[in-house]
């Protein structure tokens, strides 16, 4: 006769042996759905980045003006003028005061000193690149990405500075509205 304890131990040993003999199952994950999602995202991102020749990345807190205009943004160099600062080539060059005026230390008449230096450098680089490639002369197109509340005086100062740095064509970046 076997006692209940012996029976329990025997069963336990049998189960242990069965577990040892059992071949480990490999977890299989179905990645078809995941691939579908990734494909959609990749196509969407490619489409949205390939449409515009210039990628506009507004700075934090910047509200771009709204307009009925439907002309696409063509090639050009963007300058971002938020209510706090002027950014060019990913560098915050000039700060604006609470009233939206350019810091007086950076201003000489209508000319914004640090912005002029950066724009002139960019213009020289672009001209040299065009010359090296043997392409037609550089057209000097500037895309002004402003703020809805940007004061006209500041806008004029930026345009004047860009003009001095040999930018001859200007476009205001706007968000297209339906109406």
């Amino acid at each position: 006769m076997t006692t209940p304890d012996q029976l329990f131990l025997a069963k336990k040993a049998a189960k242990k042996a069965a577990r040892r003999d059992k071949v480990e199952e490999v977890g299989d994950l179905n990645i078809t759905s995941l691939m579908d999602i990734v494909s959609i995202i990749v196509i969407y991102l490619l489409k949205s980045y390939a449409t515009d020749p210039v990628i506009i990345m507004p700075t934090a807190g910047q509200k771009i003006p709204l307009s009925h205009a439907d002309a696409p943004i063509t090639d050009g160099v963007p300058v971002y003028i938020s209510s706090r600062a002027i950014t060019f080539n990913n560098k915050k060059l000039v700060t604006l005061d609470d009233d939206g005026n350019v810091d007086p230390a950076a201003l000489k008449g209508h000319l914004i000193g640090p912005l002029f230096d950066a724009m002139a450098e960019e213009a020289d680089k672009a001209k040299a690149m065009k010359a090296a490639q043997g392409e037609e002369p550089w057209n000097g197109r500037l895309i002004l990405v402003g703020d809805q509340r940007l004061k006209f005086s500041t806008l004029v100062n930026v345009m004047f500075t860009a003009g001095r740095a040999e930018f001859t064509e200007f476009a205001f970046c706007v968000i297209q509205t339906g109406g």
Partner: protein
């Protein structure tokens, strides 16, 4: 103790079925992408002011009739409009009268950041009136007081261009639509 272990071992064998989760994700992501509001950027082309006309331009001017030379000055209290160097609404014998705007505000007393304070409808009507008299003219010079916000400038340009004007095809070489009024803007300081 032994019972707990057995129970745990049995539960550990259950494998999560990820397929329904994946299916939901598959539906959710396109739905979110579609629901997402995408800002569509556009460009408003502006010309910098030309300070002097070339010799050819001067000769051409002499040959033709007097040009329209439409100028719109955005004041804090409305629009001052002048054409052929004569401000509309100016006192008799004066070319300009800075005391009052040609088109007053649509919302008098509204704050400067209320961009609908200007009467864009009246401005567009005035632009149509000038366009009917000078059909070949497309250029308007716009200036503003220092405090005028950019949104007001853009909406003024929209009104002068015409609310039905669509220039996307014209940018690709097609003819500019007849709905377009004064679609070439020159922005300058102190043009009033």
């Amino acid at each position: 103790m032994a019972r707990k272990k057995r129970k745990g071992a049995e539960e550990g064998e259950v494998e999560a079925n990820l397929l329904p989760v994946m299916n939901i994700m598959f539906l959710l992501i396109p739905a979110l992408l579609l629901a997402m509001e995408v800002a569509r950027f556009a460009a408003v082309n502006v010309n910098p002011p030309k300070f002097a006309a070339s010799a050819d331009q001067k000769k051409e001017k002499d040959d033709k009739k007097k040009p329209l030379n439409l100028k719109v000055f955005i004041l804090e209290d409305g629009y001052r409009i002048s054409a052929q160097d004569q401000q509309e609404g100016a006192d008799a014998g004066k070319s300009a009268d800075s005391s009052k705007p040609t088109i007053p505000l649509a919302k008098p007393g509204a704050a400067m950041d209320d961009f609908d304070r200007y009467d864009y409808v009246a401005l567009e009507a005035k632009a149509k009136q000038y366009k009917s008299l000078f059909a070949h003219e497309t250029v308007v010079t716009i200036s503003a007081e220092n405090t005028i916000p950019m949104q007001a400038l853009i909406q003024t340009m929209d009104a002068l261009r015409g609310s039905k004007c669509r220039l996307a095809k014209a940018m690709k070489g097609e003819k500019v639509p007849e709905d377009c009024l004064f679609w070439q803007s020159v922005v300058e300081a102190g043009a009033g």
